[in-house]
């Protein structure tokens, strides 16, 4: 099986007088349709790993391939292209653009990609947001929504260009348990019903238990869970 995302000895060291190793020697292969939970104590390098997998940061060692394509040597533009079409991010904080409406926030990645016409984008954003229970909030601004609602908008935005891979960094970390369960259920449904791959960093042991696979990090290295 060709992996959706594959790493060999992936390492990220921050150059400094005393170099800081964020992650080291990560070797993994994650295939389509997996729900991977990354767990580990605070400061163990979970976010750092996710930023590397999401092409937001560059490794200092090892290799990374997405959809069989080696990332090393790609231009900034090509990396941005992969982020736009192949990856979807959900962060702990929603990171929506405050001046734009919910619908506009979801449509921004679509407009950047430019594959859909205005009417089709509108239809798609409505569909995505309705599926996440936000049909009544399309034209509100992020600050008019609750934390759970915002995080669902962020999930909708990550799905805007229908990417095969969703990366989530503690997506439920700032939510109460009811909202956490809801967001988790949404991610789970994406994997089961739409065949997406989700890699989620989580502290929530319950959520981790439901994942199809668990990766445990300690001090920037893979450890037995």
């Amino acid at each position: 099986m060709s992996a959706l995302i594959e790493t060999k000895g992936l390492t990220r060291v921050l150059p400094a007088a005393v170099p800081v190793t964020l992650v080291e020697g990560i070797t993994l292969a994650i295939g389509a349709g997996e729900f991977v939970a990354i767990t580990g104590p605070s400061g163990s390098g979970k976010s750092s790993l996710l930023y590397l997998l999401g092409l937001l940061d560059k490794p200092t060692g090892g290799s990374l391939a997405i959809e069989g394509r080696d990332i090393e040597g790609l231009s900034e533009r090509e990396r941005a292209g992969i982020r736009l079409a192949t990856l979807g991010f959900v962060f702990q904080f929603h990171f929506l653009l405050p001046e734009f409406t919910v619908r506009e926030n979801v449509e921004i990645p679509m407009r950047r990609l430019g594959h859909l016409g205005a009417a089709a984008m509108r239809e798609r954003s409505t569909e995505l947001l309705s599926a996440l229970g936000l049909a009544d909030h399309l034209d509100k601004r992020p600050d008019q929504l609750s934390g759970g609602q915002r995080q669902r908008v962020a999930v909708a935005r990550s799905l805007a260009n229908d990417p095969p891979l969703i990366l989530a960094d503690e997506p439920t970390g700032s939510l109460d348990s009811k909202n956490s369960d809801q967001v988790f259920a949404i991610l789970d449904a994406l994997v089961r019903e739409r065949g997406k791959t989700v890699i989620a960093v989580t502290h929530d042991t319950e959520m981790a238990a439901k994942a199809s696979r668990r990766i445990h990090l300690v001090d920037g290295r893979l450890a037995e869970s």
């Binding site: 940061d57 941005a80 982020r83 736009l84 990171f95 990645p109 990609l113 935005r157």
Partner: protein, 415 residues
């Protein structure tokens, strides 16, 4: 691109007051530049118009620009002749009738012949040295600006014939003479004749009002003992700007020195160029200051919107997109400021055009005058162009920094 524009406008709108200040800054810069350019250009046009109006456009005199080639130079290539001076032909322009006919054939304009000689006017024991200019009144009126500067009498008073003279009012004053007074004119050759003053003019230029006397050409020829001679042909062209070409052709045709008004006033015209350089420097400085306002606001936005930059980059926007975004914000402010600036400039020009003031003093030919203003679309375009370029530069510097921003730093900082 429309998406980037939408993002840019959102950022700008989010900073209402600062945006307003930046736009006002650019607008004032553009507006004042336009008003200043209109005034400077107007002043220049007015000045040149007066110059062109009062001077002959081309002045052909009986001088030569260069010493004549000596036969020896033609015969021997080794011949070296030094110390030759161009000839000043005392006989004046030779064959004036033929020369005039030749010029009339092609010169687009009017021409007048004259004989200028030095002399002294004498009245009630006072002597004043003047230039005695012999003219043909009808032709002169079509060429000289003097025709409209008469206080009393006119050139036509000369037509009737007889020993009549037209002088400046200051000369009459110095002599204690007035219209109708008979004065004695003594030429440099010693000829002396009585002339009756039949006209007084006032140009405002003391050298002329005090130092020129116009008589019939025939009388000047008698006074200087040069029958049928003339020593100056003055041309007034339909298009004053064609003067250098006309002068060159006339000089080639006649051999005599023909000077265009531009050549005669070279240093004055150069001073105008310097004036323009100063003006554009000041305009540039004003817009540079406006540019700092833009730089300030874009810098603030890039700092404040660091999170937006991180979000957009994580969503798949490129560094180029980010650079364009903030560059566009700068240019948008510059464009907004330019538009408002056009309105400001137009209003300022309009207000200035209403300013009227009285010119007191001797030169009361035009009693009420207004500021000379020139209207040109170029003033508007150049000012806006300057503003846009300075806005572009002001936006580009912070834009470049914003584009380089590493999203991980910001996402970590927020988490």
């Amino acid at each position: 691109m429309r998406l980037i524009l939408a993002l840019a406008l959102t950022h700008i709108r989010g900073r209402g007051r600062q945006t307003l200040v930046a736009i006002i800054g650019v607008a004032l810069g553009v507006g004042f530049s336009i008003a200043m350019a209109a005034l400077m250009q107007g002043g220049e046009d007015d000045f040149v118009a007066r110059l062109v109006d009062t001077m002959p456009h081309v002045d052909i005199t009986d001088e030569y620009r260069n010493a004549r080639r000596q036969p020896a130079q033609d015969a021997f290539t080794a011949a070296q002749i030094a110390g030759l001076r161009p000839k000043d032909d005392r006989r004046g322009i030779l064959n004036p009738t033929e020369a005039v006919a030749m010029l009339r054939a092609w010169v687009p304009g009017r021409l007048a012949l004259s004989l200028k000689t030095q002399g002294v006017v004498r009245y009630s024991g006072r002597d004043v040295g003047i230039a005695i200019i012999g003219i043909e009144p009808q032709a002169e009126m079509k060429v000289s600006s003097l025709a409209k500067d008469f206080r009393q009498g006119s050139f036509t008073s000369l037509i009737a014939g007889g020993n009549n003279i037209v002088v400046g009012d200051r000369l009459a004053q110095r002599l204690g003479a007035e219209l109708g007074t008979t004065v004695t004119v003594v030429s440099s050759t010693g000829q002396s004749r009585a002339f009756k003053i039949v006209g007084l003019f006032h140009t405002g230029t003391t050298a002329r009002d005090e130092g020129e006397g116009y008589v019939l050409l025939k009388n000047a020829q008698i006074l200087s003992e040069r029958p049928n001679a003339i020593n100056e042909i003055r041309l007034k062209l339909d298009d004053p700007n064609a003067a250098p070409q006309v002068a060159r052709r006339a000089e080639a045709q006649l051999g005599y020195k023909a000077m265009a008004w531009q050549e005669a006033n070279e240093s004055l015209l150069q001073a105008l160029v310097i004036r323009n350089v100063i003006m554009y420097t000041v305009v540039g400085a004003i817009l540079l200051v406006a540019g700092f306002g833009i730089f300030n606001i874009i810098s603030t936005i890039t700092h404040e919107k660091a999170r937006d930059i991180a979000i957009l980059k994580s969503l798949g926007f490129t560094e180029t997109d980010m650079r364009r975004l903030f560059l566009l914000e700068g240019v948008a402010l510059g464009a907004g400021g330019s538009l408002v600036g056009w309105a400001v400039g137009f209003s300022l020009c309009f207000a200035l055009s209403l300013v009227r003031f009285e010119l007191s003093g001797a030169a009361v030919t035009q009693e009420i005058t207004h500021l000379p203003l020139a209207w040109s679309i170029w003033h508007y375009l150049i000012a806006a162009g300057f503003a846009l370029v300075s806005a572009g530069v002001a936006g580009y510097l912070p834009a470049r920094q914003a584009a380089r921003l590493n999203p991980v730093d910001i996402i970590r900082g927020a988490t």
